[in-house]
């Protein structure tokens, strides 16, 4: 018996080392791989929450119309009814979602460039879209000297 133990020592020792190695590998693996990994697929589902937690810059027009009744009514009555407020006013979540919106008063749009971006005549634009050669059409005057931005009908 004692003879057998002595002879098999060279097998037992590597086996012990192998087991210890396996144990360390498993321990390190569990320490590094997030618990829920693989719940939906080969990825960490916590990433979904991290991406969802990013902040919003565009509040959405449903917010704007809650407070700005006058502009909302004017817009709804005209051709800009489907143009979102922030499409002209830029990202305003910091204004619309603030406790005190007047403390984060948004700057007014730069009319000289604003209307041109949508209405400048371009052969690639759909034919039914109202477009003008702005330089000829306005004679250099700002568009809102004649048109109301919220309801562009004269």
């Amino acid at each position: 018996m004692r003879q057998f133990l002595r002879d098999s020592g060279h097998l037992i020792r590597p086996a012990v080392i192998l087991l210890a190695g396996l144990g360390i590998f498993l321990a390190v693996r569990t320490a590094f791989i997030p618990k829920a990994f693989g719940e939906y697929g080969h990825y960490d589902p916590a990433a979904l929450e991290r991406i969802r937690a990013r902040s919003v810059s565009y509040a959405g027009q449903d917010q704007c119309v809650l407070c700005h009744d006058e502009q909302a009514k004017a817009r709804a009555a005209g051709k800009h009814a489907h143009v979102a407020c922030e499409a002209c006013h830029g990202p305003q979540a910091s204004h619309a979602l603030a406790d005190d919106p007047s403390a984060h008063k948004p700057p007014l749009p730069d009319v000289a460039n604003l209307c041109r971006r949508c209405h400048e005549k371009d052969a690639a634009k759909p034919k039914g879209f109202p477009q003008v050669v702005t330089a000829e059409h306005s004679g250099g005057a700002l568009c809102n000297t004649c048109h109301q931005p919220h309801n562009p009908h004269l």
Binding site: Y43, R50, I51, R54, A87, A124, P126
Partner: protein
Amino acid sequence: MDITRRDLFAAGGKLLILASVGATLEQITGAAPPSEAYQAAEHWWGMIIDIDKCIGCGNCVRACSNENKVPKGYFRTWVERYEVNEGTHPEEVQPHVESPEGGINGFPPSTREDLKSFFVPKLCNHCAESPCVQVCPVGATFISPDGVVLVDQNYCLGCRYCIQACPYGCRYLHPETNTADKCTLCYHRITKGLTTACCENCPTGARLLVDFKNPKDPVHELLRANKLQVLKPYMATRAKVFYKDLDGSVR
């Protein structure tokens, strides 16, 4: 008073029973998943782009850039202007495509009435069989349960395999984080009930966020009544961005 071994076992046994009852109760009451308003399994997101409505104003590109803090010179969505010379020989149908700075400031006006010209907004197609996800060696990019292709910044090695793999050129390496970056279909907005920044700011409704799992979504009617196409159908990526009235020359 002497404590015998028997007393010790009895007390220990009682404590054990109490503790296990407590643990079971905790399992039953505490383990219930927090009821959440957004259920990913009930959605399957995509987009419809109506070529005949796009005016090339670049609002979508600016909105995306602002909303997602996209670094300057990189684009998660962009607009291309196609000019197609409808020649008699098929070889002559070589579209001229331009996209100055992704169309972020619109386009210099074109007066070429003799050509067929139109705008094509592009973004990640959120493919259901996406090649970019298949090549990722570490599981950093994946398709979410609601069908959005996302990148886990914490896992990404920056190996660029996915950037090479995307047939639509929709990915880039973020210059600051050195990880792959792309359109998230505004995952942080659509899971809150908002639409994407690009759809919110599209003045003509040329872009429409759709949910294929919502039976009331207009997408079903649109798919029935129109011929909608995807880009590069021969890649068999099962793209979920559908184009209405797409010209055959668009790649």
